[in-house]
């Protein structure tokens, strides 16, 4: 295992860069970070629709998240593969396709976290804000969302772990991310598939384990702070 790691470390970390396109862990992290950064604001909009006082909005948002949660991510990636070029009217790279699919998929899951955060706040907060003369949107913007976001930070970090794991599926449409690098190493070495794929698993493990530990630490810290304030 050590030999594989030693001989192909660069391929695992950055793909064929600087002689070719960036890949490996670097692309996995860029894909995940972009996925989270774009799907988060979308998930807030979906969550707001779900707790809004307008019935048709709640309906539409809940039907949408249910549908997305019910479709395998790989299926959504294939939908994006042929639907996105039609929608934008131009050829689209595999990387962009993967980003689009991950945004659609993850925003549905993130919206559940945001919604739980909003619903976890005491009712009095909204009532107090409204009785101060703020509109529904203003109360959300200045009173509810800031509090809810602080509470759900650990869950969002945990969702980032899910997103990192989800990006491995981009390998299937040929995005040169971490799993793709391992497949490349495997075709070069040929005789050591077990070692190659265990090194791959180890890369994901180190990344995801460290981040979920960080989420756990964050959760305890927030709980302590709140206990101190109370």
């Amino acid at each position: 295992m050590y030999e594989i790691l030693h001989d192909y470390l660069a391929l695992f970390l950055v793909g064929s860069w600087p002689n070719g396109p960036l890949g490996g862990v670097a692309i996995t992290l860029i894909l995940s970070a972009l996925g989270l950064a774009i799907s988060f604001p979308i998930s807030v909009v979906i969550a707001l629709a779900q707790v809004s006082p307008w019935r048709w909005m709640r309906r539409a948002a809940s039907v949408w998240t249910r549908l997305v949660r019910g479709i395998p991510l790989l299926m959504i990636i294939f939908w994006a593969y042929f639907a996105v070029p039609v929608l934008v009217g131009a050829e689209v790279s595999a990387f962009t396709t993967a980003v689009c699919a991950i945004i659609v998929y993850e925003s549905a899951f993130l919206s559940q976290i945001v919604r739980a955060g909003l619903e976890g706040l005491p009712r009095g907060q909204m009532e107090a804000a409204r009785s101060n003369g703020l509109s529904w949107l203003q109360s959300m913007r200045y009173v509810q969302l800031p509090q809810a976001l602080a509470n759900m930070l650990p869950s969002i970090v945990n969702q980032f772990v899910s997103i990192i794991k989800a990006t491995s599926l981009a390998y299937v449409i040929g995005v040169p991310e971490l799993t793709y690098s391992a497949a490349q190493v495997n075709t070069i070495v040929l005789t050591k598939p077990l070692q190659t794929f265990l090194v791959l698993a180890a890369f994901y493990f180190v990344l995801c384990f460290a981040i979920s530990r960080f989420a756990g630490w964050l959760e305890r810290r927030i709980a302590r702070q709140r206990a101190g304030l109370a």
């Binding site: 019910g70 790989l74 491995s168 599926l169 598939p193 265990l198 698993a201």
Partner: protein, 230 residues
Amino acid sequence: MFDLSFLLEDGYLKLFRDGVLTTLRLFVVSGLLSIVVGVALTTLRALPVRLFKGFVIVVVEYHRNVPVLVQILVWYFGVPQLLPEGLRDWINAGNTEFFFATVALSLNAGAFISEDMRSGLRAIPHTQQEAAWSIGLTYLQSFRYVILPQGVRVALPALLNQALLLFKNSSLAMAIGVHELLYRTRQIDNLTFRTFDVFLVATILYLIGTLALMALSEHFAKRRTAPSGV
């Protein structure tokens, strides 16, 4: 515009049916095995042996922090390298892809299930155990008649959620060439070029399964809180 009559020609319907049946087989076989794995891991962890506890923690953390696709690749490409010749021939004589996909999916779901079971059992107050003993039940009886029924009730929505994940994850078996629904979908697409229609049919087929599982999970989540009153 939306015309599905082409499905009736050239045995496409049969390909779809084969895909659905393989997906269901993958789901049912891995589902049953994952319960066995889950119960085994939960039991090992509950025993007062540190070595077992450590082993279960390592198994659970591996399956939680490594993408399912990578777990499947490790089993399919890597593990045969370790097996003795005779056993390898025996596996290769059958449906290798299906075999390893089942192993990977059952272990993955089993690890998650064991965590759900553990938190389900932990949710039962210790006084229940003591009360059961004090009315003369043995350790096994108190587990069978007092702890387990309550624990299952608490854990059921989470377990159904695992079933939903397993159903969606079965689509990843496509990556190693298992002829499940998504694999067949792409095959029919390549034969007919009716991409939109073919993927829509497959998506609806997946949704029938996943929406049913979601509804079931919500039903039990609602029922749990009603009678227990805790």
